[in-house]
Point group: C2
């Protein structure tokens, strides 16, 4: 482990990969919103709002997803006792082409918006970039925000719902959920103390129905670099939670980590396995989508941290940077995973 103070900068670079924040921003408000299936899952009680009509009163699935994201942001702001106009920047993105779920509801609200694309890694990507903006001194109150919607994602990435396609056992269910976190300054609360940006890793997997296998190597890459850079071992950290590896990807990650000498199976959980009851809810390998880790983090996990049940959390949303166009051209599917270290 080596630390180096980059010039007169604030953040400390730990080893090759980790940025330690010297002024950790505090999550001063957070909210999660979900749809019908999420309201029937094990974490239902931790959502700030669930909507049984997953059209959210809109006339398209794309607009429904926007409405859900707007609701999450508005509830998170209310908990932070802030108004939209108090934000100095919003960091947002989603799975829709051109990130429209985010961009369309952020039109004309008067807050600078930095659009991100990291597929299902967007929740921790947005927290990471937002934290670095806070660390630089350039902003003091910002939001990180993302969402996914089963219906808008299915028709964009796979088949129209009306087709009624059979799902394979390795397939995952895109969560209909949104999460928002407001970062600010406060004496107490959950702090973001370290971030570790992910590298794009592609092991040649082409199966668009096996996202877990596409993403697990990227998750392992980030986690191994985190441990190598900080000199920590899995025993030094509390919980390790991944975004949406599901059943297949989670097993692969634990195998890869054990092989690398960092066994994590005793402390690893995956949002894709937490958000649904896999057997009862027929979601095959588990949940997925930007909204999966966004909903679980901004609903369940942050509540667990605030109530003292989790003191220390490495959260790593995982993204399959899957392009239907490139996949049809025979290309494999790259993955990425950005890590954020949260401390209560």
């Amino acid at each position: 482990m080596t630390t180096q103070k980059g010039g007169i900068g604030l953040a400390v670079r730990v080893g090759d990969s980790v940025i330690a924040l010297e002024r950790p921003p505090v999550i001063i408000g957070h909210a999660a919103v979900g749809g019908r299936r999420e309201s029937e899952g094990p974490l239902a009680a931790d959502f700030d709002a669930v909507f049984l009509d997953t059209s959210f009163g809109e006339d398209s699935w794309e607009k429904a997803e926007s409405a859900m994201q707007r609701e999450a942001l508005s509830r998170a702001l209310a908990k932070a006792s802030l108004k939209t106009g108090d934000l100095q920047a919003i960091f947002a993105g989603d799975l829709q082409n051109q990130c429209t779920a985010s961009h369309y509801h952020l039109r004309n609200i008067g807050v600078p918006t930095i659009g991100l694309y990291g597929a299902c890694s967007t929740m921790t990507e947005s927290l990471m970039v937002a934290s670095v903006f806070m660390e630089s001194g350039g902003t003091e109150r910002v939001a990180a925000l993302t969402s996914s919607h089963f219906c808008s994602a299915e028709r964009q990435f796979r088949f129209p719902l009306e087709y009624g396609g059979q799902r394979t056992p390795t397939a995952q269910w895109t969560a209909t959920a949104a999460g928002a976190a407001i970062l600010g300054r406060a004496e107490s609360g959950v702090r973001i103390t370290e971030v570790c940006p992910g590298r794009i890793v592609d092991k040649g997997i082409c199966d668009i129905n096996n996202m877990g296998a596409c993403m697990a190597p990227a998750a392992a890459d980030t986690l191994i670099r985190y441990f190598a850079s900080t000199g920590k071992t899995p025993q030094d950290v509390g919980s390790i939670v991944t975004g949406d590896l599901g059943y297949v990807g989670s097993r692969l990650l634990c195998e890869l980590m054990a092989e690398a000498g960092y066994p994590i199976a005793d402390r690893h959980k995956d949002c894709g396995l937490m958000i649904y009851d896999r057997e009862r809810q027929d979601v095959h390998a588990g949940g997925s989508g930007c909204g999966c880790s966004a909903g679980v983090l901004c609903g369940h996990l942050l509540r667990q941290m605030e109530s003292g049940n989790i003191a220390d959390l490495l959260i790593m949303s995982t993204g399959a940077l899957m392009s239907p166009t490139l996949n049809q051209q025979g290309e494999s599917i790259p993955g990425v995973a950005h890590l954020v270290h949260l401390q209560a």
Copy 2:
């Protein structure tokens, strides 16, 4: 003009909107790559490489765009006397769904990658986010990178090329170009001294063949906020260059700025009007695409700054966050423009 030092942060927030960097990163390497039409335009000599076969030897337009971006990054790194592995992060995005032009060539190169989506605003969006990472102290050598390709963009956003659609007079021509800039620390060179993130502005324009009109209000919004926050007037700055407003959008921007009391017509240029000869090259309202401002900045403009012809430049890539899906659902097209202040 009010300045406030945010806590013990480095960056200074100027007014409501501008982040002034106290340790301005230096552009230590930059390169622009273009296709055939760009090689026939007025700025041909300022491209580091032009390729008359715009397939770049690949078997699809999407992969061709990736190849072009890889070439730009590699040439920028060479000029900075760095290898890929010396980079601590890459900030990249493009117009392709899932930002695949960027993500696919960055697979397995071993550098953390932060994916951005800002449509054609990506060049200044990536420079802005990269600069803030530098300011935080968390990174010391990073790259900002983007591209567009006429053929991959046309079939994704409008019509397959084979259709031979008639173009309207307000339509713009997506540049086949890529630009890369390496940020680091150096005693001399072009510095990024201020950034101003853009707000998403939508004035209700639905015409997918008039991107200039969609983006001009967002460009005006950012520029007015820049002047209001810093207390400067257009006379206080050297050049003001927008990304790809083209002929229609540039006229609108100058009108909007004059109405707001900040006339800029005597010092404003637009990369979309610089990259092609509109009359001779039949590009209608001018160039567009992420590659337009990326190519003009990383080729022509930075050379002009290094040779002393431009000392002070406000560059603002402009993005139309246009979704064909939402447009077909009757929605209008939001715009965004991120500003970066460069000083020689």
